[in-house]
Symmetry: C2
Subunit: 224 residues, 2 copies
């Protein structure tokens, strides 16, 4: 049984469905914050149901059953959190996930939340912020920002079109890791801001060259 | 004659080529910061050459002659800065641009730089920053951030793979507008940071809902 709802609703859903599950069934979820999901589901667990939280790193800015498509999971990572589950159950679950086209990877809830804070949660927060900054501009400038949304801003608006309730829950439930990454990000942004103010082109160019290599690594890792 | 080089190099290039241009020729450029380009080209202008700066809002993270493709300009805006040029010359230039598939739009250098600061320059600066933040993580976490680069971060790495020299020059030459937009962005980010820290889900959801509408406007404007 797969619970695919905003992470803030997983606890209540687990409470509702667990009493009706068959003995020996496997329960999982698709939430983007695992520490909170593990915490919220825990009180409702049964000894005869296997609980294996997971998180498919797949999807678009669209939500709901209509947002699925055949190749959605092909070649994408699906993170499995084995917790204290029986190894045989986890392996069976992984076989199922692999059958959907995904690549399985095991993690602990804490490590998962740290990685996702930087790869997914912080980028979304920033995209929401910059698009929100545009919303607040005086009318003519705002209209022109929309009309002339060049590459860059346009990509951010796509990210910032994701489901509001789902993302509200992500930030409320991975607050510690997000705030830590946000702190690092803000420091780095201040460094660049200062470089622009003082016309330190060498610092800008050095950073821009390093970030280019990260892109190369991602393409090499087949995750483009 | 189209000067397509990093904006920091436009002045020197104009100095080199202007003496060799035919009387009555039109000179333009493709730079992303127009106030600086107008300033840097001014000392080298000739009375018998028409200077019409411009900026095509098209392109990818790739640079150089090999980065072109047939549909590159189709339906994309190409901003024209008529300055004090003869109207007949500007119209002739616009006919040429329209022939490439682009949609022409006139602006002043100052207004152009303000719009672009938000639609293009700030998003690039932020993408460079967040990818740079990842570069600085401890090794294992950094490797996993690359491996599991989910939607969001992956989009940012694409933006952050753009040409370092070109973007260094953009920030050095549109510093005032970028710093102003960066200030607004930082205030907005602090607001969300505080909302996460104090678990104010209503504020997050309200902003995330508003930004969704901006995406809709861009799709409606045919600039997706």
């Amino acid at each position: 049984v797969i619970m695919a709802v905003p992470v803030g609703a997983v606890g209540a859903l687990a409470e509702q469905i667990l009493p009706h599950m068959k003995p020996g069934a496997v329960l999982t979820d698709t939430g983007s914050t695992k520490t909170s999901v593990v915490r919220d589901v825990a009180p409702h667990l049964r000894d005869d149901v296997f609980w294996v939280p997971s998180h498919p790193l797949a999807g678009t800015e669209h939500s709901g059953p209509g947002a699925g498509f055949e190749a959605l999971f092909d070649g994408r990572y699906w993170i499995i959190l084995p917790l204290a589950s029986d190894e045989a159950v986890v392996t069976r679950f992984e076989t199922y996930i692999t059958g959907l086209g995904s690549v399985c990877e095991r993690m602990s809830p804490e490590y998962h939340d740290k990685v996702l804070a930087l790869t997914s949660h912080l980028p979304h927060l920033i995209a929401y912020t910059i698009v929100g900054t545009a919303v607040d501009l005086e009318t003519q400038l705002k209209n022109d920002v929309i009309r002339f949304s060049a590459s860059g801003f346009r990509d951010f608006t796509r990210i910032a079109a994701s489901d509001p309730v789902m993302w509200r829950d992500v930030f409320l439930n991975n607050d510690a890791a997000v705030l830590e990454m946000l702190q690092r990000f803000s420091e780095d942004l201040s460094y660049l801001q200062r470089a622009i103010r003082w016309q330190e082109g060498d610092k800008l160019e050095a950073l821009f060259t390093r970030t280019r290599e990260i892109r190369r690594s991602i393409i090499d890792a087949g995750q483009d």
